[in-house]
Symmetry: C2
Subunit: 346 residues, 2 copies
């Protein structure tokens, strides 16, 4: 049995205990918004060196707790460690993003991949980093572990890089529906064993990010992706699951039926729309437009308080996307303070 | 009074006359999918040389009619001719996209712009190209003229290039809401005089593209963009308007209330969802996922026929986005044939 963190507002919100304000953390809070992160990042040879260094991963994970006083830490890592442990190495090219020298070009390439525990067991640097992070957090707040979702990882394994349309990945599905299902299953197997190993280390919550869900449509998402997300969710019983399918407004009902403890919501979905579809009891996470943090302190507070009131109870405050790297840290603090000075009873 | 084209199925659909099948054309049909286009493109020094050449613009506009037998032509041009005529030159960098050496950095830059008729009158090469195109079409099908929408053009004028998030453009709105309104108004004025000049030349339909609507949310879109789109729509009485705000599912009801003759729909919006919001009488245009055209002939036909049945009457067939340049032309032909062999009475 895990010990309850001193600040348990995130876990209390998820388990629907009485709280006086919503909890807050930010996607990508461990990152370039903090000068302390940028210093660590500059001291190593590339982003991947940081991802593969358990000591430094732990250090940057805990920075937002020490500096911003958020209600949870999320372990600093990269979603692409999964394709890599399955057999597709990648590089990170400065100002361009990820690049895979070798990609999945046809169905026969899929059979060469390793998957499941055999693959995820290679990610020792993550598990070591989690252990070091928990030492540093020292029981102050919960630690979230994350994974990319099968579709988002599939995108990179086919395309080999980012894309506006992910049309190659979608082409693969339309050309090779069976092989696509096999690759998605291999990814699902690996994500499950990866998340289980994170939970073994002691993370309190897991989040699954489907960053590119929004390029699909309801038919494709519900037939190809929702069953795999359900399998991931069903496999995790020891900690709560946050499921964030960015852009998948069209499948919000199907995502809720999977039954994750928390559903992540991007900023294009209004509280009114979401509550109509998934009800008031579903815990949600989100969904301030990250660009609001470019505005004045007054704008940030007004928009944050309105958002909290519009969602009502069962709401974890976050942005509707990762915080943008050029957001002034003082504005991030205004956002966090706006949540901390809010009271449901006012 | 404009003469009715020989093939008037698009205009008949828009005016709700009896038709036996829906009309079809493709966004970006005049473009890289055709080898005949690529030959013309290779013969000139850059994409902009093609845009500025009335004779060649006319030639590539008519190619899809001659080769693919679509039910309408759309004049070949670039949405960025508007920022350029307002005073911001741009370049097109091969494989990267548009790039503006000078951008709008603050409110004072907006006052240096020219706008309205003074700006749009500089686009003689477009109006000459339209006249030459109508000669070449010779009454066979209607000709569509288009413009970018204020928000999408605003994005480029602030960012100076494409972006995944358009966070600089959104930051501008949150930091300078009044100046943003002024720039959007200047753009609206220019778009109106531009479209009026196109109608003077004889285009039968105009389409307004808001390609980046989907990075906003309902509040921003409805407060900043919908009023300007309404002003554009209200100013155009001589021909039907197609309004396509890609990704703006959250504002579909507000877009319909503007009253455009046709609403463009992207592939993430299902017919069921759209018809619930905007009813059965609203003419829609779309919305096959462009990636379906990577599939087999059988898949293309099945998905196309299902889409036509799901939309019901008052539907112009198109993709939910511009056709992707690497789509095999034979697959485009299968798509078009699937529509032509469909009958509402079957």
């Amino acid at each position: 049995m895990m010990k309850k963190p001193e600040n348990s507002i995130l876990l209390d919100c998820i388990s629907k205990k009485d709280i006086t304000r919503p909890p807050i953390w930010l996607m990508r809070q461990a990152g370039r918004i903090l000068k302390e992160y940028r210093e660590i990042r500059a001291s190593v040879d590339g982003f991947k060196a940081l991802v593969k260094n358990p000591e430094l991963s732990a250090e940057v994970t805990v920075q937002p707790l020490d500096i911003l006083n958020v209600d949870a830490c999320i372990f600093f890592s990269d979603i692409l460690v999964i394709p890599e442990c399955m057999g597709l190495d990648y590089e990170l090219i400065e100002k361009k993003g990820p690049w895979f020298p070798k990609v999945i070009e046809g169905p026969s390439d899929i059979d060469k991949l390793i998957y499941g525990k055999e693959a995820s067991d290679k990610l020792d640097y993550v598990y070591n980093g989690l252990s070091k992070t928990l030492d540093r957090i020292d029981g102050r707040v919960p630690l979230i572990g994350f994974s990319g979702a099968p579709w988002t990882l599939f995108c990179y394994m086919i395309e080999g890089q980012g894309s506006k349309t992910f049309s190659k990945a979608k082409r693969f599905i339309y050309k090779y529906p069976e092989a696509s299902g096999r690759l998605l299953d291999f990814l699902t197997d690996t994500i499950i064993t990866y998340l289980q190993s994170k939970i073994d280390q002691g993370v309190h919550v897991v989040q699954v990010f489907d960053s590119w869900a929004g390029v699909l449509d309801k038919t494709l998402y519900n037939s190809f992706m929702v069953p795999r997300l359900r399998r991931i969710n069903d496999s995790i019983n020891r900690v709560p699951v946050i499921l964030f399918s960015k852009g998948a407004w069209f499948s919000l009902d199907s995502l809720a039926k999977i039954g994750p403890e928390v559903i992540g919501i991007d900023w294009t979905i209004s509280p009114e729309y979401a509550r109509t579809i998934i009800g008031k009891d579903q815990v949600v996470q989100g969904n301030l437009d990250p660009c609001v943090l470019y505005g004045s302190k007054e704008l940030i507070e007004a928009k944050t308080h309105k958002m909290i009131r519009d969602w009502g109870a069962n709401h974890v405050v976050n942005l509707g996307h990762g915080v943008y790297p050029d957001t002034p840290v003082e504005h991030v603090k205004s956002f966090i303070n706006s949540v901390k000075n809010f009271s449901y009873s006012d």
